[in-house]
Symmetry: C2
Subunit: 329 residues, 2 copies
Amino acid sequence: MKKVSLKDIAKKAEVSTATVSYVLGNKKCRVSEATKERIRAIAQELNYQPNQIAQSLKSGKTYTIGLIVADISNPFFSNIARVIEDEAAKFGYTVIFGSSDESAEKSWKLIQFLKNRQVDGFIIVPTENSEAQIEYLQEQKMPFVLLDRYFPQLNTTNVAINNFEIASEMVKDLIKTSPKKIGMIAYKNSLIHMEDRIGGFQEASKSIESFIERVGFNAIEAEVELALENLLQKKVEALFFATNSLAVAGLRVLQQKNIKIPNEIAIASFDESEAFEFFYSPVSYIQQPINQMGTRALQLLLNKVNTPELQEKTEILTAECVFRKSSQR
Amino acid sequence: MKKVSLKDIAKKAEVSTATVSYVLGNKKCRVSEATKERIRAIAQELNYQPNQIAQSLKSGKTYTIGLIVADISNPFFSNIARVIEDEAAKFGYTVIFGSSDESAEKSWKLIQFLKNRQVDGFIIVPTENSEAQIEYLQEQKMPFVLLDRYFPQLNTTNVAINNFEIASEMVKDLIKTSPKKIGMIAYKNSLIHMEDRIGGFQEASKSIESFIERVGFNAIEAEVELALENLLQKKVEALFFATNSLAVAGLRVLQQKNIKIPNEIAIASFDESEAFEFFYSPVSYIQQPINQMGTRALQLLLNKVNTPELQEKTEILTAECVFRKSSQR
């Protein structure tokens, strides 16, 4: 690759390399406007590409943000990535993203890689057991915002939603016709967002018999089928899914087994899915404020990038229940 | 941020900075194994973080790939991004991604940004009017592979599918009960993948009356509704959607208008969507080989990174028709 150097431009403009460097770097220097314009015109004519890596070594800013989501193929995360990308572009920032696949090891690899490439800050959807990574970023004074989940014992800036309250509201609606038994399918995950969804379910259903089945992230289909069979044996009359991917897997099984929704079992889910509106009994769901979550995370991060001494804070945004046919018995 | 430098390590190990640099950079040098180990242990103890940007300035390789997709919030692209990410990880590469939003301007910004950050190569889903960007990368001898779409007039390495043949196969099935009229909803997009899908539709339906409606990328919902109304006025008995997002918007309108599928209109779509299996009349669709597309694109790119003089080639992979109830009249 034959690259145009500052030297090439200096030669053609008949000035020193240092002068070219000052002019193209927009630094103060005693050069006439006419010369400045001549240098810029020559740079453009020669198609000069500044070496951004060398530039960032000097300026220390890259106008890049690292975004680590749990799984880019989940529509919740790919939609929120899109919002953050669009919002960042307004401020001249580019977003680099990757998925941790709910693995602390992958998350650590991404954090190290992006940090070594000197992103200006991070928006992170943290995985289980990644507290040490977060503390490491704090020690290194790297600005970051945690999104969707956070660690209550760590003093960080977080954007999350009212998981406990909104789960409780949806479950209260699910049991308004006084069923005797209700079930929930959740992930095996000790993070606060999952614990709060389960806590809200328990709080709302404490007057009746309730059952919770927890499944792993791998082999969702098989594990959800097993979990559903356990709950069907218990004869639950209502069912709450902790995420969209659990619900889509569950709908598949319920359809195969020809179980009538909502007559035999009333259902509702956290998150959205295109599948919900086309299920024969449109699925009631908890709508997370994705636009607001992405926008606020980006804004809080830029505040921290520009004012490192800012106090940490947690913003809890409000989700909404969308009631449809699947929960109306 | 207090950074540990090579100097700090040299001081503690009582050797020269150059020696530390050689040892940590795994370069040949006359240093005993014992000293090498002492230096590595001290580097680890002090939590030394090599400055990867400075490193890449020297080695010229970053083990990073830039991936530019049309829209990360579309499941086709977010799933393919996931495949490329997983495959790249096997070879020690990290994938940095961004979406062009079908805009040549955004695509150019991303290409420039990533090129300046010195990615080793690109996988690009090109937008309309981005030929000059592709030619620029060729001039700059930057390795890249085009995915999903390509420009037939440019000699590049491409991974695509048999759009014409598979669209033709699906449409032939749609009209096997000899309807008099068929419609298609496609994007206003002159790229080869869209032209081929339309070409396959025309080829297969040439014995009957056919109508094509083309909509823009923005305001899909409203434009698809209008397009559908035009086709309904023409009294089409079969309908083919050129992508999943067009089909999902179309299903919404068909459901609102209470049009019976497949009895009143038989339908089929390109691509997949979670919505298709839960629509009351499960939707027939063309399944793109996403795993194979992502894997081959990555492998071809790494071949080009490692052997720049390789000849360009186009790989056409085979999609499959999945026939379900929506197309069976």
